[in-house]
């Protein structure tokens, strides 16, 4: 198979250059303040529930425009001010300029040292450096991935598609039982979609269900991209889904358990999360279609009582919380969540195996998709 190293490398370099410039500008603004003998400060958008809203038109959760100021001459802010520039400079010098990417843990070690002539550490704990990274992301309007930082990798994909991953052409229809491991950074300078005959994307919450569908070669029969996030989808998986949905105009179906956690997984894929509201724009897929499992499926598919699991207190509290979210305000969602609360049970996708091991492959998914039996 062919390689396309050069194109890939130059796109990566170009993108890195842009981010470098943003950091440069951030620093230059502070230098200018110093020259004017003003108190150096950085403006940082506030990342808190109070500054988050659901944008009805775009149908996603986004950050408002309230900012906080981080000042150098301020006893409570001086350390954080220093940390912000320490992280920014490490990102620029050690990552962007060298074209390398690394983990947020690694960055913590890279920037940790004892300040000369003192016993004070720049960072005592990764808990201090992680929020500084998020501050930088929002201040620069650059995703973590554009700062060449990644979180843990999780999730797999197979299907009728050829992609290029870091210069290597990979045929995702020939990935055996393991599948292609979705990397943490799925930006277009790393991953390019070459050609595909896929008609839709199917995201399944659970890896075991993904395995079942892969073994049954569901994706071949139904021409779809089969993705699992192994639970909550990582940033890498979410970004990949959005790129697949937008660039290739593929509908996205989401298959999760019938419980509040499943609803939450779906909702984050659909409109983003509160804690990462600043990145919804580039991760959310507002048209994502929910294909279940639903409370009504218990009767619809004639499931047996012994697959019911009683809702616990936490489930109930979570479900009630969801009833209040504006993104679940639509009639069908209110009905769905209320039904779960009324019936007082949850079910796992694996419950379908109670009927037959391949029931999910042969009956459940094809029927839901064919009949347009989904919620949005």
């Amino acid at each position: 198979m062919a390689r396309s190293k050069t194109m890939d490398a130059s796109a990566k370099k170009r993108r890195a250059k842009e981010t470098e410039k943003k950091i440069q500008r951030l620093a230059e603004r502070v230098v200018a303040q110093i020259k004017k003998e003003a108190n150096p400060e950085v403006k940082i958008p506030i990342r808190a529930l109070s500054n988050v809203q659901f944008n009805e038109r775009k149908r996603l959760i986004e950050l408002g425009d309230r900012e906080q100021s981080r000042e150098f001459f301020n006893v409570s802010m001086a350390k954080k001010f220093m940390q912000t520039f320490l992280v920014a400079s490490a990102v620029k010098e050690h990552l962007l300029e060298s074209g390398k990417t690394t983990s947020i843990r690694d960055l913590y070690y890279m920037t940790k040292h004892t300040i000369r002539g003192s016993k004070e550490n720049t960072f005592d704990d990764q808990k201090e450096s992680d929020p500084v990274i998020e501050d930088l992301e929002v201040s620069l309007d650059s995703l973590r991935e554009e700062l060449h930082l990644f979180a843990a990798k999780r999730g797999s994909m197979v299907g009728p598609m050829v992609i290029v991953d870091a210069g290597d052409e990979i045929d995702l229809s020939r990935m055996g039982s393991g599948g292609w491991s979705i990397p943490s950074i799925t930006e277009d300078y790393v991953i390019q979609f070459k050609k595909t005959s896929a008609k839709y994307i199917l995201l399944v919450e659970k890896e075991a269900v993904w395995h079942r569908l892969n073994e049954d070669k569901f994706w071949r029969k139904h021409s779809c991209m089969l993705v699992t996030g192994n639970g909550q989808a990582t940033r890498g998986v979410r970004r990949l889904l959005q790129r697949l949905a937008h660039e290739l105009k593929l509908p996205l179906y989401v298959l999760v358990d019938n419980d509040p956690w499943g609803l939450y997984i779906y909702s984050v894929v659909k409109q983003g999360s509160i804690s990462l509201a600043y990145e919804s724009m580039r991760m959310a897929v507002p048209d994502a279609r929910f294909i279940g499992l639903r409370t009504s499926d218990f009767k619809k598919f004639g499931l047996r009582d012994d697959v019911k699991i009683a809702l616990n207190k936490e489930d109930e509290a979570r479900a009630k919380q969801m009833l209040a979210y504006p993104w679940f305000a639509k009639k069908q969602w209110q009905k769905e969540i209320k039904e779960m609360l009324k019936e007082k049970f949850k079910m796992e996708i694996e419950a379908l195996s109670n009927k037959d091991i391949s029931f999910v492959t042969d009956v459940y998914i094809p029927q839901k998709i064919k009949r347009g039996d989904y919620l949005v």
Copy 2:
């Protein structure tokens, strides 16, 4: 690339047939007992610390030969007896005969039902079915994977090797940034090694370190297979490592954190674990070489004080426990563990990034391997 579906499929079928026969014999023995009007029973090797030993010659942890009897006419055993055959029959009929594999969670649902005319469930919780699966494994002398059951998938591999995975030929030197996702079942009827120029295998505990090494194309420069288990290696990863080490006669190097947990990860890869002693034989790699961060590396590589993390009480207790294990009885291990306890600190691999982001790639690993600076 070519496909080798047929060979693969027939090997899988043959293996499944063998396991089916074992289940058949288990059942026939019970039928014979019934005909003789004896109390039907199954002999199950005891899976407990009391029946586990370290085999000095084979250098692995193995199960002793003490057995327990599970009887039908015994109030405390009747339910478990029934469960054992329920699982065995589901495995035979729904998995082995159809050539399908599934998760242990799925099997729980497949075998869960309310017993007719009663309110009694065959299983109330997966906690009941999981041990029954292990009982079957030891009784039949068949690994879980041979029963067509899998646990969660985790871990990735890249390197100069072409493999066949479920009939698909995959070039592991062209896997981009994500790598090949190691499946849960890595038996030879699923995964075959075709050709390779690898000289050794490098297992790294941490995915972030694997990513660093993959991005630096360490495996290409040093001709090695680069594997991560994302923490504790799964059964699939361990089986794969053993097959690579034995079938291809490749030495295995293990890179872990400098802490008792890192030592534990290494020791499980090397000689197996107490809880899964019955499978060490087919998972352990007694010659595995420890190149994992050591207390002495702090001085050797001139690391800075701020990468030291104080041992906590749990670390100390774990380290002391390890001192007592017969597989760490060798002088070099006693010295290593005692040094950790004496110096009272642990370090993560990422500590090396404190020197330089690619220090682990450019200096640490090549130097350790070149100088034979490892422990076994």
